[in-house]
């Protein structure tokens, strides 16, 4: 899962959790809010009841006082004087907080006496409300209520904000019989009322209390309520119109209820209102900021903590993921590096193995062609088999590499099943015979012959199974069964069934799984003598998987196994495989010793390789075909030749210094003087690693030929690309070999056996040595020049070539030194190996100096071995025969052989004449010269 998607999923999950918490807490909050409001209203109502009761009680006490004073007249005969009445209130009052005032209202003066003296004057009990607005609109009608209390005022005697409960009393006037009407005021400090509600403040810390009258005027009010009137306060801080204002006023002066307003600080506040008197002329107002009343039950700490924790978790996960990803990236990078190193190794191994194998295969081919000695041919066959095995191992590894890299494609094409079966049977037959195993072939004759699929891969799978069967069967039978059944899904397709049964060692049930593990070889100890990489079944399974199939295994340990698979193939045509025996016999008949299949003397090809040795192998392999071969050791030389000659095919090596094969190809294509614009160009490469083929074809090569070059492949390639009219089908003659000159054998730096084994015959070896020595001066100079210019890349290529050529001629010291330095070049440390390079050049030059005189005509005769008379006569005999048979190659070889010896003086002139005739291609003269000599000898 990509990081972005992971983060997105995490965020979505977190969002869902937060959403759930929010919804849940919101629901809880609503419930809690409602509950809080109900509780607040109930509390306010209770407070209202407390106030109501308190006011009623105080009023009741006031009324008792008034009744007593008023009833005094009926008991004593005349009303109390104001002084007596005040004195009575002093006696009746049990609280220091309660005061009494009696003021006359009958004259509108509102002056009278107080039960308490003025704080300013302890003797002054007189009181006047003249400057007060308290009784400004006084009317006796106002006293017709159950409770008759005033608004808040400053007690004139002590200046304390107070309120008074009223009743009227009739007092004795100044004159006898005169009565005065006065107001009895039971005065309570406002703070007393506040104290009655202190519990409410304890319940709600931020609550503010007020008592208003029906006009909204504050009788009592706290700090938060501004203005002098609640209604004015509401209007000041709320967006109102006439209706809403009226609605507010009606609501507040109605029954108990709640209303939300905006307070003076602009915050939402809840007002709980309830009548404070039974007459509903005063109302208790409880106002509290909504935020205080309704605690934020959305537990922000919990929510924030949850969000924080989730975010932290997300970040932690991301960090951990990042760290793991980083480690994975490092591991992947290392794996990639390792894979790249592996690929590089495989490439190098492929190249390095295939390069000498090219020589092995090529020269072994030459041996098998040119030698008639049965013993030599047996050796040659041994080499071929080892060669095949080695190539098989390499190919397995390369296929595995391709599969791992995902670069192995299934390429379907139409094919002839009979040919596949023929190849398979031929191949396995030999191996079975070698192990003296019985091979049973069971092929359904009705299988459609022409099919559409990847024949190579099907064949590869079958070969793997057959090879394994033979390998792991010590005695008994290997049964190869091929059948089919029509596809149920598609009439045009069949299910091709291939099965290989053996009577081998079998596989333990617990080991069957390990069959498919790469590089895993079962019972390694027991099977240590059996060659293999352990990749075969793994590759087979992978290939089958790519073809929509799978390998089935049935095995009984100790008794044998059956490996089978079924692949769906499209049918092309109606022809059946028929009698396979016939095809088999035909194949058997065609089997035999290899004979050159064609000649093409009019064909002309160009081979480009920076390694003269490879050029030598190439030309040797094709010598019998009589194809005219031009060689070039560099891309530039090839380009020059292409402007001069027209070729039928061009073979172009991939790895060359300066211009490599691909660059040469591109430049050739762009070259206007190129006389070969349409000539097929085949890439020669030892880099047979996966993907190379596709790369070469995409670069513009016509085809691709892997080293070591298999002659059959080369022949196929030539037959494919040389125009038919230039090809003549027929066998060519073989020729005998000759002994190696003694001078060569005395050079200690040369392992001539190795050289001979690489080159196949003396002639090729000598040719190779001559090329080696001839190019030494130039090569050494180029190496020095590249070193001087610090062109390490091309220097490495040069060292590779030197390693290769030195290995071919058996100069193992030079080869090893060059290989070591090439490795350093590939690893990037060549720049530090100046001393070793000098040592290499020294050895190389020394060897070349020893070889050069052997191939130099001038002044070398003295050092050459004197040819024996018999040997000379034999050469003459060979020459005569070759001339009679027009075997020009033998003529040239013979002449070259003569050049290796010091010729006796009496024959020197004749030999020189023969050499000149050979150089001038005047082969008719040679028999004459020889016969002339014989005649002279007879005369003597």
């Amino acid at each position: 899962m990509k990081r972005g998607l992971t983060i997105f999923v995490n965020i979505v999950i977190i969002a869902c959790i937060i959403f759930f918490i929010s919804v849940y807490t919101s629901q809880k909050r609503d419930e809690s809010n409602h509950h809080e409001l109900v509780v607040f209203q109930n509390t306010a109502e209770t407070a209202g009841q407390v106030i109501t009761n308190y006011l009623a009680d105080e009023q009741h006490l006031c009324d008792i006082w008034a009744n007593y004073i008023n009833n005094y007249a009926s008991s004593s005969g005349e009303p109390m004087t104001i002084e007596e009445a005040i004195e009575f209130t002093r006696r009746a009052s049990i609280s220091d907080e309660v005061a009494a005032n009696i003021v006359y209202y009958d004259d509108g003066s509102f002056k009278g006496l107080s039960s308490e003296p003025s704080l300013k004057d302890a003797d002054d009990y007189s009181v006047s409300y003249k400057g007060f607005s308290l009784f400004k609109d006084f009317s006796e009608d106002d006293l017709n209520k159950e409770i008759r209390q005033t608004a808040a005022f400053a007690n004139p005697q002590n200046g304390v904000p107070s309120m008074a409960f009223l009743n009227t009393v009739t007092l004795q006037g100044e004159n006898p019989g005169e009565t005065r009407e006065a107001l009895l005021m039971r005065i309570i400090p406002i703070s007393e009322i506040s104290r009655k509600l202190v519990y409410l403040k304890g319940e709600y810390e931020d609550v503010d209390l007020a008592i208003i009258d029906g006009d909204g005027e504050y009788m009592v009010h706290g700090n938060q309520l501004k203005n002098a009137n609640l209604f004015e306060y509401y209007k000041s801080y709320n967006d109102t119109d006439y209706q809403s204002q009226q609605a507010f006023e009606d609501e507040v002066t109605g029954d108990t209820g709640l209303i939300e307003i905006t307070d003076s600080k602009g915050q939402s506040a809840v007002v709980a209102h309830t009548p404070a008197t039974s007459d509903k002329d005063w109302f208790l107002i409880n106002i509290i900021p909504k935020s205080s009343l309704i605690p934020d039950v959305v537990d922000w700490v919990l929510l924030g903590g949850t969000i924080g924790a989730l975010a932290a978790l997300l970040i932690f996960n991301m960090v951990v993921m990042m760290l793991y990803n980083r480690r994975l990236a490092v591991a992947a990078e290392e794996a990639e590096k390792a894979n790249a190193a592996k690929s590089h190794f495989l490439s190098m191994m492929s190249h390095d193995i295939r390069t000498p194998m090219n020589a092995i295969t090529g020269f072994n081919e030459m041996i098998s062609r040119e030698s008639h000695d049965p013993e030599i041919l047996r050796y040659s066959e041994g080499i071929r088999m080892a060669d095949d095995t080695l190539l098989g191992l390499i190919n397995d590894i390369l296929d595995f590499s391709k599969l791992e890299a995902g670069k192995l494609d299934i390429i379907p094409a139409e094919y002839d099943l009979v040919l596949i079966l023929s190849d398979l049977v031929n191949m396995i037959r030999v191996r079975a015979e070698e192990k003296k195993l019985s091979l049973k072939i069971d092929i359904d004759k009705d299988i459609p012959r022409m099919l559409y699929g990847d024949e190579l891969r099907i064949k590869q799978c079958a070969i793997n199974l057959l090879s394994n069967a033979v390998k792991y069967t010590a005695e008994g039978t290997v049964t190869f069964t091929v059948g089919y059944e029509p596809s149920a899904e598609d009439n045009n397709k069949i299910l091709l069934k291939i099965s290989v049964a053996d009577t081998g060692s079998g596989i333990k049930q617990e080991d069957i799984e390990n069959l498919f593990v790469a590089f895993k070889r079962l019972e390694e100890k027991k099977n240590r003598n059996i060659e293999g990489t352990g990749l075969g079944i793994n590759i087979t399974q992978s290939l089958l998987s790519m073809m929509g199939s799978s390998l089935q295994v049935e095995s009984e340990y100790g008794k044998g196994s059956v490996f089978s698979f079924v692949v769906k193939q499209e049918v092309r045509g109606t022809e059946k495989v028929g009698d396979y025996e016939e095809a088999f016999r035909a194949a058997m008949e065609s089997k035999g010793r290899y004979v050159q299949s064609f000649t093409a003397p009019d064909a002309k090809i160009l081979v480009v390789d920076d390694t003269p040795l490879n050029l030598s192998v190439f030309t040797s392999l094709l010598k019998a075909t009589e194809v005219s071969i031009d060689t070039a050791e560099s891309g530039r030389e090839a380009m020059r030749l292409c402007t001069e000659q027209v070729y039928d095919v061009i073979f172009l090596d991939h790895m060359m210094p300066d211009l490599d094969g691909i660059q040469t190809l591109h430049e050739l294509k762009a070259l206007s003087e190129n006389k070969n614009p349409d000539t097929p160009i085949i890439c020669l490469t030892a880099n047979a690693i996966s993907g190379m083929r596709e790369m070469f074809l995409s670069e513009g090569f016509t085809d691709y030929l892997a080293k070591p070059i298999e002659f059959a492949s080369l022949e196929q390639m030539l037959l494919k690309y040389i125009p038919e009219e230039k090809i003549t089908v027929g066998a060519v003659t073989q020729r005998e070999d000759q002994p190696l000159p003694g001078a060569i054998l005395t050079i200690p730096e040369l392992d001539t056996d190795a050289g001979m084994s690489h080159c196949g015959n003396v002639s090729s070896y000598l040719d190779t040595l001559q090329i080696y020595s001839a190019g030494s001066e130039k090569t050494a100079e180029e190496i020095r020049s590249l070193w001087k210019e610090h062109d390490l890349k091309n220097l490495t290529v040069k060292l590779h070539a030197l390693k290769s050529t030195s290995g071919v001629i058996g100069a193992s010291d030079v080869r090893d030194l060059a290989a070591d330095l090439e490795k350093a070049g590939n690893e990037g440390s060549l720049g530090e190996r100046g001393d070793d390079l000098e040592r290499l050049l020294s050895s190389y030059t020394a060897l070349a100096e020893k070889l050069t005189p052997l191939f130099t005509t001038e002044g070398k005769e003295e050092s050459l071995p004197l040819i024996q008379a018999e040997a000379l006569q034999q050469v003459y005999a060979n020459l005569l025969q070759a001339c009679e048979e027009f075997d020009y190659d033998t003529i040239v070889s013979a002449v070259e052989e003569l050049a290796q010896y010091r010729i006796p003086d009496d024959e020197k002139e004749r030999v020189d004449a023969i050499c000149r005739a050979s150089d001038d291609l005047d082969y008719d003269v040679i028999p004459e010269l020889i016969k002339e000599g014989r005649r002279e000898g007879q005369d003597e």
């Binding site: 400057g131 308290l134 004139p156 200046g159 706290g222 004015e232 000041s236």
Partner: protein
């Protein structure tokens, strides 16, 4: 005489600033240093302010601003009915305020001596209160140089003019006495029974007082010697009232005011006066700045005004052909109870309040005139800026004490309602009764 001249110079300088500031039409930016709390800003205490304004939103807005610095200080304003008679006792009580309102009329009044007994010296260096921002003319100091009350709101005397009505009647607001008389004539002709209205009473804030007091101040400033006798209630000094009383008599005699109508329709000098003015048929309402300050809030309370709103402004009442007199007087002072258990915090609040910005803010909310040097007038008072310098008088310069003012109020009322002639009123000076 030299002292009087000095006062005139000071007053002229102050009002010069007043005029320049107003004429320039731009509010001066405060030059205050930012307020920096001296006490623990986490102090949890309560301050109570007692006053006689039933509604004091301007102060309450200052509470909120102070709470920005001291969030845990609980400030409350308590209106005391009967404030003038009870504040002295309140200061002695167990529920004494920390800060209380004081008024210029209390200054020098023996009956109010107790009130200032409890007042702390606001000029003491330890208070840190800087009065340099306050106009010198409005500050009262004891002989010892103590400042026992800090002027926090200023006001003036004049009339509210229904300018739309004037415009409708094709009249200009009168600037001279003859223009005033002419306008009244035209208005009467147009059917306005009482072109001039107000609260007719002998109380402070009455029409008589607001109409005549500015010219009395002018007389007092012009004749300081007689003023001093006037303050002593010397009957011979009653002559000081003559120009004012004659003008008042002229107003009544010319029928520019229907006294009975005023008495019947305007029950007090504040709410009733404003609401009557908002009826829309009162061309001129003689009142103080305090009344003008209450207009805005009551606009919405008046159904008539809400139905037919009109433009109105505060103007000086013309006295003669040179115009009228602008009196720079204090509407309210604050004193700090020196016995307050929260004296430090009370002083801290005063230190906070006495600044160009806070006093300016309070005046703006109250729609009164700031007591600071750095002020600009509310648009309602913009006409005052046209007043010539020699027509601007600081009340401290006039220096008429409260007893003398009371006598003047009684005289003015008697003359207006026709109880006394001007001569009788002057002759009765010192013995006048309500």
């Amino acid at each position: 005489m030299r002292r009087t001249n000095l006062h005139r110079v000071i007053a002229a300088a102050i009002l010069g600033v007043f005029v320049i500031a107003t004429a320039s039409g731009c509010a001066q930016t405060s030059k205050d240093k930012p307020f920096s709390p001296k006490l623990d800003t986490n102090a949890d205490t309560s301050l109570t302010v007692y006053g006689n304004y039933s509604n004091f939103e301007a102060l309450e807005s200052e509470f909120e601003r102070f709470n920005e610095h001291y969030p845990n200080v609980n400030l409350s304003y308590i209106y005391l009915d009967g404030y003038n008679d009870t504040i002295a006792n309140s200061l002695l009580s167990s529920e004494a305020p920390d800060i209380y309102c004081t008024f210029n009329w209390m200054w020098g009044n023996p009956d109010c001596a107790d009130i200032f007994e409890s007042a702390a010296d606001l000029s003491a260096p330890e208070t840190g209160i800087d009065f340099s921002c306050v106009r010198d003319g409005v500050i009262r100091k004891t002989d010892n140089g103590e400042i026992l009350m800090a002027p926090v709101l200023a006001t003036s005397f004049g009339m509210l003019v229904n300018t739309d009505l004037f415009e409708k009647e094709g009249l200009k607001v009168p600037k001279t006495w003859s223009e005033f008389e002419m306008a009244c004539e035209k208005l009467k002709a147009a059917g306005y029974a009482s072109p001039v209205m107000g609260y007719v009473s002998s109380e402070s804030g009455s029409l008589e007082y607001n109409f005549a007091y500015p010219s009395l101040c002018n007389s007092a400033v012009s004749n300081p010697a007689m003023r001093d006798s006037f303050n002593e209630l010397d009957p011979s000094a009653g002559e000081l009232m003559r120009p004012s009383l004659e003008k008042l008599k002229e107003l009544a005699d010319d029928g520019d005011i229907d006294i009975e109508k005023c008495e019947n329709e305007i029950e007090d000098n504040y709410n009733a006066a404003i609401m009557r003015f908002f009826e829309g048929d009162v061309p001129m309402l003689v009142c103080s700045g305090d009344v003008a300050s209450g207009t805005k809030k009551r606009e919405s309370q008046s159904e008539s005004f809400s139905a037919s709103p009109f433009e109105y402004r505060f103007y000086v009442v013309p006295f003669d052909e040179k115009g009228g007199f602008v009196i720079d007087t204090v509407a309210m002072n604050f004193s700090v109870n020196k016995n307050s258990p929260n004296l430090d915090m009370a002083m801290e609040f005063m230190r906070f309040l006495i600044s160009n910005s806070e006093l300016g803010n309070m005046a703006s909310v109250k729609r009164l005139i700031t007591t600071t040097k750095d002020f600009s007038l509310d648009s309602m008072y913009s006409s005052l800026s046209d007043t010539p310098k020699d027509r601007m008088i600081c009340s401290t310069e006039a220096n008429i004490n409260d007893n003398a003012v009371k006598q003047f109020r009684y005289a003015a009322h008697h003359v207006l309602v026709g109880d006394m002639t001007v001569d009788e009123a002057i002759a009765s000076y010192g013995n006048l009764e309500e």
